[in-house]
Point group: C2
Chain length 356, copies 2
């Protein structure tokens, strides 16, 4: 039996485990025990399915399994794609006994999770994230949804999975660019919540880029611990959970202005973190450390030339706007974040000018 | 100040009041106190808006108000219509401060509620039902959603309103056929939960059909009390709430086979109740009383000729199917319902033959 770590997301009757380990997909974990009914729909995509779908199906031996492979990429994260999954569920006569299983990265998880949330007002859902970004961030916490022409993740639901199964062996097949994008969210956790983890990342970035299994497992585990704690404290993002969006207001606006799929989500968030860092209370050494760590992870630290005005307009449709006031997640110090509407407007505009 | 009744739907932090009275829309109730932010989107339809939209807008004086009028009818209860509401929200730069207000019947409430559930993963929502059916049933309890080509309400969410405002004066403009359809759900409450109310309905059906305000207010109030108690007990329909679907498995199948909008929902449910009554433990006198009350309300007691086989197939995609077993809500006696998979299959098939 391979080594496994279990982290619990503590949400009363919606609590669930995150299982982290190697070789889990190939039979190292009895997924069947987490499936209520007899029917499953596995949602994957054209890139991931050829690599891992057969192993997963073998693991679900004896169940009635339907599959749907989506096209790959953020550009497909739309309501139309959700509709195709719902059509599949309805056409195969699925009912509330069905479990929807997302096998893939963040886009697959977000779309499949939203379909599971909506079909018959909610069926069981399991996350099997195969990218670093999905393993450390999007598969945990129940945020599901799709993009709208006007903005990222504008349509969605909170729908918690029954289990998150993280087989870190899947990171072996991840393209470098996707690995780097996932590291953006890993760095985020250090920046917002754990100074020691941030320092550990500075020490171990080359081991992570070399995909050393122990280093990756450690990064995934600490990231999931931080996310699980924040989500347990504030499931529906009424307060503290907002800090998980550090860099995301800028990042989402970059993705939106550029067209979804141009930059990866993690790349946009990385740049967004650098822009946000300049608005917080960090001293120049801390800003430089954050920028250096992001650069060391192979990530961009300056926005693409989409125009400052367009970027600001896109930011104004952010979900954190309250009473017409755009709020931002800013750092007090490395390892400590807050959300505030009280920031220096000229400094924001200067930060945005990097996009001109 | 007009007389008002308040019933609370007790759901911890999601609790909300149902306000029932006359003249509420015209200023008899301060709706503004229930609206968190400054922006509202009123969703109505081409039939209801000309009657009540201006009064409602006057009641919301001082707020930023957008409106969208949908086409009228069940045939428009689709994901595409939800998308048009979400487009409106996004195009007007709405954020989580926005309140979506449904002004109309059950179709408007179901669609608007689902849009409110999905936009930014949930914004505030208020129900102002203007049909009897919506006042006694669909506006209370947080079920929102739309139809799918394969079945009724297959896509949706649980999303509780902040307040349900029932101005019984709006029933004055309701077409007879819609009034009758609403009475189907009123009769349902007597049949499943309150024998004395059932007897009261037998005594007062002609007063209700004459639209005597006191009789209507009484019927609305008792119906909402029963629904509020059942929903408070089982918000997500994990158990007892299923009894509110008495007649609905047959009814939804009728609507589906006939094409949405042919029969009204209440008409299909009325017929469904008669079909279900024949499968339960009622004696023949009780079955006759239920049939007679439904007929007295101007409602059909036999299904349209859509074919027994098609009807059965449509029933099998019901949300109450568990482990491939169709469960039905049946009556033990008038005023007492249960949900069971243990019913007589030949009797079910005989009941369905009425559709051949």
């Amino acid at each position: 039996m391979p080594t496994q770590q279990t982290i619990t997301v503590d949400l009363d009757e919606r609590s669930y485990p995150i299982i982290i380990g190697r070789g889990l997909l190939g039979g190292g974990f009895d997924l069947g025990a987490h499936i209520v009914g007899s029917d499953c729909l596995i949602v994957s995509n054209e890139t991931v399915a050829p690599l891992y779908l057969e192993a997963l199906k073998a693991n679900l031996h004896g169940r009635s399994i339907e599959t749907i492979d989506l096209p790959d990429g953020e550009a497909w994260k739309t309501l139309e794609t959700v509709q195709t999954i719902i059509d599949k569920l309805a056409d195969t006569g699925s009912n509330r006994d069905t479990t929807v299983i997302a096998l893939g990265g963040g886009v697959v998880g977000d779309i499949a999770g939203f379909a599971a949330a909506c079909y018959m007002r909610g069926v069981a859902f399991i996350q099997i994230p195969t990218t670093l970004l999905a393993q450390v961030d999007s598969s945990v916490g129940g945020k599901t949804g799709v993009n709208h022409a006007q903005g990222k993740n504008l349509i969605g639901a909170f729908h918690q999975p029954r289990v998150v199964l993280i087989d870190t062996d899947t990171l072996a097949t991840l393209p470098d660019r996707e690995l780097h994008a996932g590291l953006a969210e890993v760095i985020k956790y250090g920046a917002i919540a754990d100074q020691a983890f941030f320092a550990w990342l500075e020490q171990n970035m080359s081991a992570l880029l070399d995909r050393q299994p122990d280093a990756l497992a450690c990064a995934v585990q600490r990231s999931c611990e931080i996310k699980a704690a924040v989500v347990a404290d504030d499931e529906r993002e009424a307060g503290r959970r907002v800090i998980l969006n550090f860099g995301h207001t800028f990042g989402h606006a970059i993705e939106h202005c550029q067209g979804y799929g141009e930059w990866l989500h993690g790349e946009a968030v990385a740049t967004g973190m650098v822009m946000a860092a300049e608005l917080g209370d960090l001293d120049s050494t801390e800003v430089a450390r954050l920028r250096a760590l992001i650069a060391a992870a192979g990530l961009p630290t300056a926005p693409p030339a989409v125009g400052a005005k367009r970027l600001l307009k896109a930011m104004e449709l952010d979900k954190k706007v309250q009473q017409k006031q755009l709020r931002l997640v800013l750092l007090r110090t490395l390892g400590d974040a807050c959300v505030t509407g009280d920031y220096d407007q000229p400094r924001l505009l200067r930060a945005l000018e990097a996009a001109d």
